[in-house]
Amino acid sequence: LDAAAQSTTAGGRNLTIAVQQIPDNHDPVSENTNVNLRVMYSLYDTLVKVDFRNGNKLVPGLATEWKVIDAKTVEFKLRPNVVFHNGDTFDAKDVVATFSPVRLGLDKTVPVESRPFLSGIDRVEVVDNMTVRFQMKTGDAIILSRFAYYPSQIISATALKEAKSYQDFTAMDAGTGPYSLVSHEVGKDVVLKKFDKYWGNPKAAADTVTFTAVPELATRVAGLLSGQFDIITEIGTDEVAQIEANSATGVAGGPVANIRGLFYDCISSPISDPRIRRALNFSIDRETLVLTLYNGRVGIPHDWQMASFGDLYLADRPAAEYNPEKARALLKEAGYNGEEIVYRTLPTYYAKQLETAQILQSMWKAVGFNIKLEVKENWDQATKDTPDRAIIDSSFTGYYSDPLGQFWRRFGPESSYTKQGWWTISPEMQKLGDELTTSTDIKRRREVFGKMLDEFEQDPHGGMLHDLAQFMGVRKDRIELKPLPSEYLDLTTEGVSFK
């Protein structure tokens, strides 16, 4: 008999989710990690909601309607009768609090991890109690998305005011989401319960949800198979067979809006010659990589874009090319003669990171590169600027359904890598980027984005590998899970149904 399973799911609809780690706090702007995104979705709402199941359409959330006045201004009509978990009623003051200077990263002593995302906001104007208007500093092509995606989750003004310090606030339950926070023990678990006064639909699917930290994958799998957990996150493709072999368990999930890639140090490094970098990109056999490590369950993006870009998705662009001959030719042209190129990686930050690195190393070796793999303990060590710094691992989350939330965020002037001198942005590129940022003309933007990608291909500052996917193990005998194509975890009746 399954004692473990009984004790955790006895009575009521309780969900136990084994995650590799739980967040340190719940404040969206303080903690930008996939572990937090997973919990955040149940605790908070945004003014505009993204209908991930429907081509990322923007639909009303805490705002019932909105008006884009111009590229710099947008106005929201707020939803009445929304209650926060702390009992407060939602209105304009909460929106102001959400986008107050401290949360935008303007207070020098409060580190805000989401800082660049909302740095375009100039001011929030309260039109009336139920209407707010945002004024941006410059024209913003994706002005509405700013209020639909991370980190625009609305928080309670009272909570912020009552908190002794901002630190204090980060541990509070200040949202309006379908679940409220019961407890949070750092390093151990987060417990949520159904919020009965939730304004929206669909409602919470479970009475309680426990996110429990189970760092070891083998343990998560064992817990799932033995019935201790209902859902486990971050499984690899190697575990799929084992999970599917059990009739009670199955696998769910797929790509999330993220691309796994590389950064190249383009200035005074062994690969400062763009031809060498192009050769690096041409040498990667992405098909085989994906087949080997993911059983082909993840896709290969068509350049630096994701289908969710919608209007901006240039579907006709080819997938990144694997062409060893071309790579060899380029190398020859560049006069590369076996100089050592350092590739720094971390062992387990990304899924299958070491494996990927070793495979890449062997692929590069095949066309004549001399790659030295250096496994580092942390990013600080990996990104340290030494003369031999050349290649490091990275990933490219699409924070908005737009190149601005992904490609230009990482390679544009606001990117920390740009600021730390990994490359310089050419004037042409800069010009194109400015236009992409401010223009609201979709056709023009498509054109500009295409040119940018072309330009980038000639002088790549990074390499693209494959879509990132997230797979979860599920007790199919108890629940059905319909995950979002995002790092958010949907625990409403739309995402989870009990059997």
Binding site: S7, D107, P111, W379, S394
Partner: protein, 322 residues
């Protein structure tokens, strides 16, 4: 008492060395701000973080500030959670102890009799087989043993919960995984110490008086073996905390071991230092108590200390009174 002063002084010096070494090592090998945030965070955010935690000061100054606070029993704050470091650590310690203590006890309860049995059959097949069995525990890396156990008892038989604390049965697998290693260590040390003591002429004397074997073992062998075993126990107890980390991690017990690893990875200075202060003091205290216990067990040491007014750590052979 003179030696008590000396010992305390030594303890403080040791802890200070520990703190200093750790602090500078952590600082030199990674920036806390860069550990806290993902690698592509905005530089201003990092600056704010530095500002908030006083990380802009030169490192030696940060350390002096830390020490000054420590002198007022302020263990500093955890960068990661913003909570007082001591509180963070104390939250986790009971978990580790709840694993470590039963593990040590179990390994003593298993290891010592095994070693005893092996020594009684010294050189025979029974001896070799016993040691072989005991050493198996040491030969399989504990995390692998843990995974095996999970396969059998969680996945296959479905008897035991693999993760965290559910009920008392949750202890079985983690404690078994840790104990396997320590039981082997205890078994081998017990065997060695026993063999040594068994060759002492007093054993013959006892046999010659016709004392029953069991009695001889209880009254002569055990006390004489106790001394080396106490030494080893204290030694291993210090180790078990760090060792437990692997098992804590595997079975998702959020204890001090995992906290330490997380805190080191996050360069959460105050937490790392608080853990080390705690484990360090425990270790030093354990050593100190062991040294004291030598005097209780062995009258020669008592006399020696009396005669030379030496500190109680003038300890005797761990291999018994040869």
């Amino acid at each position: 008492m003179n030696w008590l002063l000396l010992r305390s002084g030594r303890a403080i010096l040791t802890l200070l060395l520990l703190l200093t070494f750790t602090f500078f090592t952590l600082a030199a090998s990674g920036d806390p701000a860069l550990q806290k945030f993902s690698p592509d965070v905005d530089l201003a955010t990092i600056a704010a973080f530095r500002e908030k935690w006083g990380l802009n000061e030169p490192i030696w100054k940060q350390f002096l500030i830390y020490l000054e606070r420590l002198a007022h029993f302020d263990f500093g704050m955890s960068y990661r959670t913003g909570r007082p470091a001591l509180e963070v650590v104390l939250d986790r310690v009971p978990v580790t102890l709840s694993l470590a203590i039963p593990s040590i006890v179990l390994s003593i309860v298993i290891g010592i009799p095994l070693g005893f049995y092996a020594a009684m059959n010294k050189g025979r097949l029974a001896d070799r087989i016993t040691i072989l069995v005991a050493v198996m525990g040491l030969a399989i890396p504990p995390f692998l043993l843990g995974i095996f156990l999970m396969y059998v008892f969680s996945i296959w038989l479905g008897w035991l919960p693999p993760s965290g604390y559910v009920n008392w049965t949750s202890y079985i697998m983690p404690v078994a995984s840790i104990s396997a290693v320590y039981a082997a260590i205890f078994a081998r040390f017990t065997r060695s110490a026993m063999v040594e003591v068994m060759s002492h002429p007093m054993i013959e004397t006892a046999k010659a008086s016709g004392l029953a074997t069991g009695l001889v073992q209880r009254v002569h062998v055990l006390p004489n073996v106790l001394l080396p075993l106490v030494t080893i126990t204290a030694l291993e107890f210090g180790n078990v905390v760090t060792f437990a980390a692997v098992i804590e991690n595997l079975f998702s017990w959020p204890g001090a071991g995992t906290l330490l690893i997380e805190a080191v990875a996050g360069r959460d200075y105050a937490v790392v230092e608080a853990v080390l202060l705690l484990t360090g003091s425990t270790m030093i205290l354990a050593n100190f108590l062991t040294d004291l216990s030598y005097g209780l067990i062995d009258p020669r040491i008592r006399d020696y200390r009396r005669a030379y007014r030496r500190s109680p750590d003038q300890l005797p052979s761990p291999e018994g009174a040869a």
